[in-house]
């Protein structure tokens, strides 16, 4: 279980353009469920996901996983958590241009330094599972939106994380691909993963795959 206690995040602290992106959020996210953060643009969904996924540190409050603190850890341990515990699928996928699909998927595992052949097989297995087996050698800039998203999912899963975080996963997809993503999400939850997604797309938050819906507005929790 992931627990947030009075979490707040401010940007440009102490300057004239100081802004609280997240304020006083206390929340429990159950393991093995698909939780959806719903809210309009600027409601703080992305910031909250970044805080949960150890991509940023809260200004106030604490974040715990199974009772162990995640926030406030030294950078090295934060990086290890990002690598081993969380997989992140960004809104714009953030694949590294110029590299192949296979290289992009293998990247998060480099610091773990597994045997190269084993890593390659693991990455190819994931690509085949998500229907990208024939695109392994292709450069990512030539992928369609759906293919890029599935590549990003494979990259997020390469280190077998317990928690997968997806920020606005359907923002760049059409209806068919959005439905496809929700199917993948349901499959991942069925395989024991915890999924946290943010969206203001009804195709996501109204999907039967979503087990818990959390509303956000102006950086605060909204009663569902």
């Amino acid at each position: 279980m992931i627990e947030l206690r009075g979490v707040g995040k401010v940007f440009n602290q102490g300057r004239h353009n100081q802004q609280w992106a997240v304020r006083d959020v206390s929340l429990r996210i159950e393991t093995g469920q698909l939780t959806c953060l719903r809210g309009p643009s600027g409601s703080g969904k992305t910031t909250l996901l970044a805080l949960i996924g150890c991509l940023a540190r809260p200004t106030l409050g604490r974040i715990l996983r199974d009772g162990e603190p995640l926030s406030g850890l030294p950078e090295r341990f934060m990086a290890e958590l990002r690598r081993r515990t969380f997989g992140f699928v960004f809104q714009r996928f953030n694949l590294i241009r110029g590299l192949s699909v296979l290289d992009n998927v293998m990247l998060p595992a480099y610091p773990e330094a597994p045997a190269h052949e084993e890593l390659r097989e693991r990455a190819l297995g994931l690509l085949r599972r998500f229907g990208l087996g024939n695109l392994a050698g292709q450069r990512v800039e030539w992928l369609s939106g759906g293919e890029a998203q599935r590549t990003a999912i494979c990259r997020a899963l390469i280190n077998r994380p317990a928690v997968l975080i997806a920020d606005e996963p359907t923002a760049n997809l059409d209806s068919r691909l959005s439905a496809e993503f929700m199917g993948i999400a349901a499959e991942l939850v069925a395989s024991g993963k915890t999924l946290i997604v943010s969206s203001h797309d009804p195709r996501v938050y109204e999907s039967p795959a979503v087990q818990r819906l959390v509303g956000l507005r102006d950086g605060r929790l909204e009663e569902a």
Binding site: R76, P111, H116
Partner: protein
Amino acid sequence: MPSAFQRQRYLIDYSLMALGRRPGKHLGLLAVYTLIVAVLASVMLFSESLRGEARLLLAGAPEVVLQRLEAGRHALMPASYLARIEGLRGVSGVRGRLWGYHYDPFIGANYTLMVPPSDAPLPGTLAIGAGLARSRGLEVGDLLSLRAANGEPYGLKVAARLDTESELLSTDLVLLSEQDFRAFFGIPADHYTDLVLQVRNPREVHTVKEKLNLVFPDSRPILREEVLRTYDAVFGWRQGVVFVILLGSVLAFVILAWDKASGLSAEERREIGVLKAVGWETADIMRMKFWEGAVISLSAFLLGYLLAYLHVFHAGAVLFAPVLKGWAVLYPDFAPLPSVDGLQLATLFFFTVFPYTLATIVPIWRVATRDPDAVMR
């Protein structure tokens, strides 16, 4: 526990892929960097080679030369000094030398005329250096006529062309017999240009020098090591002059490197943010960028040094030879002896590879130590 070696392999692998993604930019940088190293290394290699050449030639030079002075100027040495020096303890041999300079208005150059200690040319003949032979178009058997001290033309037949292991010091040399030398310059039979001494124990040269100073207050002893030091200083000074001239291009490169290193593009910043977000540690990113910088700087260093080696030892250092050899009318046809000095190599490495790598690492470190969310935002 991941293997540190395997981890480095992955980082190097990624660094090479990263370099391959922007080939134009990196190849351009590599070319400029290589050129700078090549130019600097050429100057260093050529100067060091000249020093080595001078050392080689002077190795056979006498340990002590004694020159008489009059009013602080070099004057002829009376032959009577020979017997007085022979009596000094520690001196194993002494002989008088005959040498001098002659200005040839025909080609506007100075020749060095000299009577060799042995195998001197027969009276009426001479042996000439290669530079002189080239300039005057002389072959063996030709007649060379020079204006003697009494104003009359003095004709000598070329008996041989000097073929020494280094042309550097023999290019303008003319060897002739004692009889012709004295007649040409009008030097009396009981005088020499200077004297050369052999010292029995090389460690005693300083003691012998002190004795000479005491016994011959009108003369100055010059040690071989002092001549070597002077050559070192002259070539070092010339090297310095070239370095000052090159300073502009070195500065241009420093600006280029700094700009490249410090001005991380938005794409590079984003990439660092993504790598951190997917679990790379700050140290991994630093190491990866270190390898990227090291591949460029080491390649440039090796390529540049190789180019410099070829330039100096196979192309005769065409770019710098006139400055580094000296300003003379008769340029020696000088093929430097290939040699690489370890200390110079290390110095060049330190001043080219190290600053570039550092300049690359610092701005990366600034970005890589921030939270990934802040970098990507």
